[in-house]
């Protein structure tokens, strides 16, 4: 037992003495999350609104007043033609444009329903989402008041159009993806590199010849990174919560448990890589090309899996991050629990067991 503790202590020395490793380990999660988060701008206190009123009746006037008095919006730019909308967005003059079709008020009173177009800037998905939320709220409130007054049902149908980025991606969606990526990087890449480094330096021969058992060597290598990865999970979650207000709607304990499972998967991948690779360089290449790239591209982090061609969709099933993403999105954003993603958890668990068995088997007690 003493020899095992000595081993783990030595691993921590390696980590803490290598400034580059330390920077990557602790700097990366924070920098990544800030980069991703701020790339998706989040300031919504000054929404600049433009209105193109082709109807110009009392109802559109009342709605405009309501919007202005809601306090969410700062100034209104009156447009005269639909062609101006695009330019106004591109120049950053407005965050939202509302378009009333001709005869809007007339139609609403006559048919009981009319549609209004709400156009937002999709390159700021977060802003976009929040702004449309505000607008819908105001419209709904007005609709209610009007219905009460008229004593019959009226329906203002908002039609949302997002310019520049029709697919909504927000920082909320990025956090789970980022967790999957960073944990993979720290766990798989770092473990595979540290084991291959011992091979390169010839120290692995000594360790193999020593009374340390193979599983002790593996555990000794893995435990420090397990701890660090776990710290990373906490860093990401706390940063996401404090800076961007990303909530965790589901159980935080369950989230940590699922993260733990995923870290184990990534660690066993790292050990597997180190049994194949003879040098640090090879380990790095396998980790980056064989793990990181597929994870970014095929896990659903960047491109939705549903829109992939079927062969890629098939391949995406063997990527652990895909299952982890489904779990974490469900947990954090939807607030659902194991009853919904027990299947995904089981798959991840199965993968981990399989990988651990293979890598322990492949980890040689001798040289080849």
């Amino acid at each position: 037992m003493n020899s095992f503790i000595g081993f783990v202590r030595k691993e921590f020395y390696h980590i803490f003495r290598d400034r580059r490793t330390m920077t990557i380990l602790f700097g990366m999660p924070i920098i990544q999350i800030l980069l991703f988060g701020f790339a998706i701008r989040n300031e919504i206190d000054e929404v600049k609104l433009a209105i193109l009123d082709l109807s110009k009746d009392t109802i559109t006037k009342e709605i405009t007043d309501k919007l202005l008095s809601s306090g969410y919006f700062l100034g209104v730019r009156q447009l005269t033609a639909a062609s101006e909308i695009d330019d106004a967005f591109k120049q950053g003059l407005i965050d939202e444009a509302i378009l009333f079709e001709p005869n809007f008020g007339h139609q609403l009173l006559k048919d009981g329903s009319a549609s209004v177009q709400i156009i937002t800037d999709g390159s700021n998905p977060n802003v976009s989402r929040i702004v449309t939320g505000y607008t819908s709220a105001v419209l709904q409130q007005y609709q209610q008041e009007l219905a009460d007054m008229q004593n019959r049902k009226v329906l203002i149908q908002p039609e949302f159009t997002m310019l520049f980025n029709p697919e909504l991606k927000s920082v909320y969606l990025f956090v789970p993806g980022l967790m999957a990526l960073i944990l993979l990087l720290v766990s798989a890449l770092m473990t595979s590199i540290t084991i291959t480094r011992e091979k390169e330096y010839g120290t692995m021969e000594i360790l193999l010849v020593s009374p340390l058992r193979p599983y002790q060597i593996i555990l000794g290598k893995v435990i420090p990174y397990l701890v660090l990865s776990f710290i990373n999970v906490l860093t990401i979650l706390i940063t996401a919560q404090i800076v961007f207000g990303v909530p965790c709607k589901g159980s935080i304990v369950l989230l940590l448990a699922e993260s733990f499972l995923y870290i184990l998967t990534a660690l066993s991948l790292g050990i597997l890589i180190s049994t194949i690779a003879a040098s640090q360089q090879v380990a790095m290449m396998i980790s980056l090309a064989g793990l990181l790239l597929p994870t970014v591209l095929l896990s659903g982090f960047v491109f939705p899996i549903t829109s992939m061609p079927w062969p890629l969709e098939l391949i995406s099933n063997i990527i652990p991050a895909k299952w982890f993403l489904i779990i974490v999105r469900g947990l954090m954003l939807k607030g659902v629990g194991l009853e919904i993603f027990w299947k995904e958890t089981l798959i991840l668990f199965g993968m981990t067991v399989l990988l651990v068995v293979i890598s322990v088997k492949k980890f040689k007690i001798r040289l080849t």
Partner: protein, 309 residues
């Protein structure tokens, strides 16, 4: 009273088509210092890896400290110390941390076995808080040896500890081994430097995976057939060429500041050689009969082997 610590019988090992070791038989006694002498690629490292249970033999039996390296590899591992060829310690750990780590790996402490390494470790102790990566070559070697000894092994395997090390550090290293030997530990060491053979109790000369000879250094050199002559002149390169062209030459090799020469003739040829060379204008020729060294014998064996092949 002395029993065999290492027993190798009919050991062979091949990598694919290449025969790395061929029918090796070696017995090393307790307390002996045994040298494995041969150039790079002769099979020294392969043999050491088999002895330290890191590789499996294809055929033959190998026992270390009475345990079979295949079946009882755990018992073997617990009783040996090993310093691999490219062993470079943990560069980012300090001297003391390295030593403490290897002690803990073997389930012991520096204090428990300090006695054995004291002589060696004392020399690097003033630098115990320095990172191993910042040590000089000689000091690194001392640390490596300390680490290999820290668990008090019965036998220690040193794979080319002096390769690429300057002549002075090499000398110091061998002095350390001589002292270590007094504590009763069995030492197996490999080296490509022929002159180091004389520092071992017994040596095996190895080339192309085959043992050419195995004995005490003095016994090995006594197998050298025929008298050996050392020749000197100011024009060494020309002398060399002249001797190579000489009809009675058996072998001629440059050897430091002289040329080592053997003759095919049975009777003492000194006179004839001197006359021959004088005719070629070597007026300052010095010639004397000398006792062959390990390197002379090694080369003679190499030539003999390549002739018989």
């Amino acid at each position: 009273m002395s029993n065999a610590v290492v027993v190798i019988q009919n050991l062979s090992k091949t990598y694919g088509e290449i025969s790395a070791l061929h029918d090796i038989n070696i017995k090393v006694m307790q307390g002996e210092s045994f040298g494995l002498i041969g150039p790079d690629g002769a099979g020294k490292t392969t043999l050491f890896r088999i002895l330290t249970t890191l590789l499996l033999p294809d055929s033959g039996s190998v026992a270390v400290c009475g345990f079979d390296v295949q079946k009882d590899y755990k018992a073997v591992r617990a009783s040996i110390g090993y310093m691999p060829e490219r062993f470079s310690l943990y560069q980012d750990l300090t001297v003391e941390e390295n030593l403490a780590f290897f002690a803990s790996v073997f389930g012991t402490t520096i204090r428990a076995n300090y006695e054995l390494i004291q002589d060696i470790y004392e020399q690097i102790e003033p630098f115990k808080n320095r990172r191993a990566g910042d040590l000089s070559g000689g000091m690194k070697q001392k640390l490596a040896l300390s680490c290999a000894l820290i668990h008090k092994p019965q036998v220690i395997f040193l794979d080319e500890p002096t390769t690429g090390v300057d002549a002075v550090s090499r000398k110091e290293f061998w002095q350390m081994l001589a002292k270590l030997k007094q504590s009763g530990i069995t030492i197996l060491v490999s080296t490509p430097y022929m002159d180091e053979a004389e520092l071992c109790d017994r040596v095996a000369l190895i080339q192309h995976g085959r043992i050419m000879d195995i004995d005490r250094p003095s016994a090995i050199t006594s197998t050298f057939s025929g008298p050996l002559f050392a020749l000197k002149s100011k024009q060494m390169y020309r002398l060399m060429r002249c001797l190579k062209a000489y009809e009675h030459t058996k072998s001629v090799f440059a050897f430091g500041d002289s040329i080592h020469y053997t003759d095919v003739r049975a009777e003492n040829p000194i006179k004839a050689i001197r006359q021959h060379l004088q005719r070629h204008g070597f007026d300052d020729l010095e010639i004397e009969e000398i006792r062959p060294g390990i390197e002379d014998t090694f080369m003679a064996l190499m030539e003999h082997k390549s002739e018989s092949l």
